[in-house]
Symmetry: C2
Subunit: 406 residues, 2 copies
């Protein structure tokens, strides 16, 4: 046991601002039904205006607005009923001065008309004659042919994950495939002589099942990535380097859930340093200090602490934005959060970011303490509170922002 | 054109509190790798305690705490070094009074020891002899065999969607399959003579591509459901009833994206009423008034307004919690939101809930106005603000909660 570690320590803010690998996944063609939360590699452009024709927004009568000026209940305008527009069909009749045409909501505005009067402000007292009791301005009761989107405009911008309404907009424009960044492949390597696969029925003395890899896979999927389980590596010298070399071949990011002992951590740092450039070894965060950030042949490598809780805290703060960025999204979707008052004082060291798991009880944030060896601290939490780097703690009663898990 | 509609109008609050179909999807066995956000049908119980053995949380020396009492830099305790614990293996030596054993972080606590001294507070000045310069209390530097989870405790509760850390906890416990509610199958039926599939290259006059179905599929997927596109139905009498009958066979929820004209809406209400019980026809919400809620043979049916914007607003508020509930989750995961000040006054009618799309610009919520026929109002928005039912409007400068899209 050496007891020594060589840290090139950084703050979380530095890591987020300065560890920015250039790698981006390639664009691929994605069908609309699979495009939710995928990141367009370029602006998706409207091939034609939408809705594509002047369209009524009410059930009523297409008119020339000038024919309705001055109309009132006492002195209606009388218009000749010239015909009706059918849904989904071209109008068979135009509107001439003094005339009107029945048009349903969504129907095409007939030629000659420049407004639609709502049926509520009309009466058909004599067959073939419509009384209009309210004046309408040109353009009222309709949307223009390019009012939703003009041709050539961006239907969805590059770099922003597609949301449900975006899919609707693309469908409306007839865009059924999108050039989107491929999901980043995130290889997850677990290390440690004590670590065995989750499906190990009976544990021998000292063995633990690999919790971190399954949890990381969930966080990767939530960030739009594709988790690739790269298995468990023993602490034997050279074993990690070999597995890492393999994983680097077709991964966009390699995450190492490191062994928890000092020796295992040194082994991780050594293996990574042999294959690339270590950007930092040590992060001013609690929990999560023994974090390693590196780049090996253009592929970012994230070495996580051995404790599952610490590993997941660091991956959420550092790894999740990295996965989004690999997919071309610089500004990840917002996480849910709530304001709440702290139930207890939180201590922290200046210059270190503290991540404290909390439960929300009646709008009060109750910190959950316990060794970071306990995963239950995380599964019992509703979210977490960050004590920022400059602060030396937060007093009970302080209003804080709780980032909620979902 | 009848111009008449028979509304059994309800408020959104009533719909959420009182329209609660009893249907739940069946439980199925789901592997861990596919279990993210799935809803356990029963508590997932720990078959054994975790971590399963008393485990060191530091790199150091396993000791009997009593042997360290009074130790200081000036007057260390001297302990005999009896051996070392290897990671992932049973200790080969016990700790006797006056002795200590090297133990790595995560290693098994040897018999006889009741604490671990961190290596930082020790020195090995003579071979075989360890100086301890700080006293430790029993239980320090370790977690107990059942400190993370006791046998029989809930690893993950029924009814709460599984989060990434839950997957880690299940993996740690060797639980590799979960009895989870099946994803609710949500059949999406579009209606309207003017509506054509998104892959229609050239539109004839008056035709529009089906935007709502693709967007709804995205919202359904976000809510953990499985969207099933049930196609487009013409406004021809009887056509919807036939399609609805088919869709009801194996759907957990049927959503009808209704035609936008009064005639089409009447047709929808008629078809649904013929097959089940209409709970409400008309919701005190803007946009989204012509909403229909019904139950047909135990399957909830949601009739949405014809405008895509209105349809998506209503589905988000009413449909999304319904999909979660069908999967056994009464309390859907939180949505992201931010507090912001309103840039402009918002008008509303008392007794009606108004949903206003907004952009967030420098922390100010700028309302986006425009006919609900425009989908671009929704795709340009960062989120929405609700003007609650009792309010008659909100003044510019009011601090509001913006629910953010992601």
């Amino acid at each position: 046991m050496s007891g020594k570690e060589f840290f090139t320590a950084r703050t979380v803010a530095e890591a987020l601002a300065e560890f920015r690998p250039a790698r981006r996944t390639k664009a691929e063609s994605v069908g609309l039904a699979a495009a939710l939360h995928r990141v367009p590699a370029e602006d998706v452009v409207a091939p034609a205006p939408l809705p594509g024709f002047a369209r009524s927004t009410v059930d009523g009568f297409a008119v020339r607005a000038a024919d309705t000026y001055g109309a009132s209940d006492g002195l209606p305008s009388y218009l000749d009923l010239l015909g009706a527009v059918r849904m989904g069909a071209a109008p068979e009749v135009a509107v001439r001065p003094g005339g009107c045409v029945v048009v349903p909501t969504g129907g095409v505005l007939p030629e000659g008309a420049d407004a639609v009067v709502m049926v509520e402000f009309t009466a058909e007292t004599l067959p073939g004659c419509v009384e209009v009791t309210r004046p309408v301005a040109p353009g009222s009761g309709l949307v223009r042919a390019d009012e939703d989107v003009v041709a050539g405009a961006a239907l969805a911008p590059a770099g922003r994950p597609l949301r449900a309404p975006d899919l609707g907009m693309l469908a409306a424009a007839g865009v059924t495939t999108v050039a989107a960044h491929a999901r980043p492949r995130v290889a997850i390597v677990s290390t440690g002589d004590e670590v065995v696969p989750p499906d190990t029925a009976e544990l021998a003395a000292g063995q633990v099942r690999d919790a971190t890899a399954s949890a990381l896979a969930g966080l990767v999927a939530d960030a739009g990535g594709e988790p690739v389980q790269a298995g468990i590596v023993s602490d034997e010298p050279g074993a990690l380097r070999e597995r890492l070399t393999d994983a680097l071949v077709d991964a966009d990011l390699v995450v190492i859930s490191a062994g928890s002992s000092v020796g295992a951590r040194d082994e991780t740092a050594g293996a990574v340093a042999a294959l690339g450039t270590v950007w930092c070894h040590g992060l001013a965060i609690k929990p999560g200090k023994p974090t390693l950030l590196a780049e090996c042949g253009g592929v970012p490598v994230l070495g996580l602490p051995g404790n599952p809780l610490s590993a997941l805290v660091v991956f959420r703060l550092i790894g999740v934005p990295l996965v989004w960025r690999l997919a071309g999204c610089e500004d990840p979707p917002p996480e849910p959060n709530r304001r709440a008052r702290l139930a207890r004082n939180l201590a922290s060291a200046a210059g270190r970011l503290d991540v404290v798991q909390v439960r929300l009880v009646d709008g009060v944030a109750e910190p959950l303490f316990g060794p970071s060896a306990l995963l239950s601290v995380l599964t019992r939490a509703d979210g977490y509170v960050v004590v920022p780097e400059p602060a030396t703690g937060l007093d009970a009663g302080t209003e804080v922002e709780v980032v909620l898990y979902r």
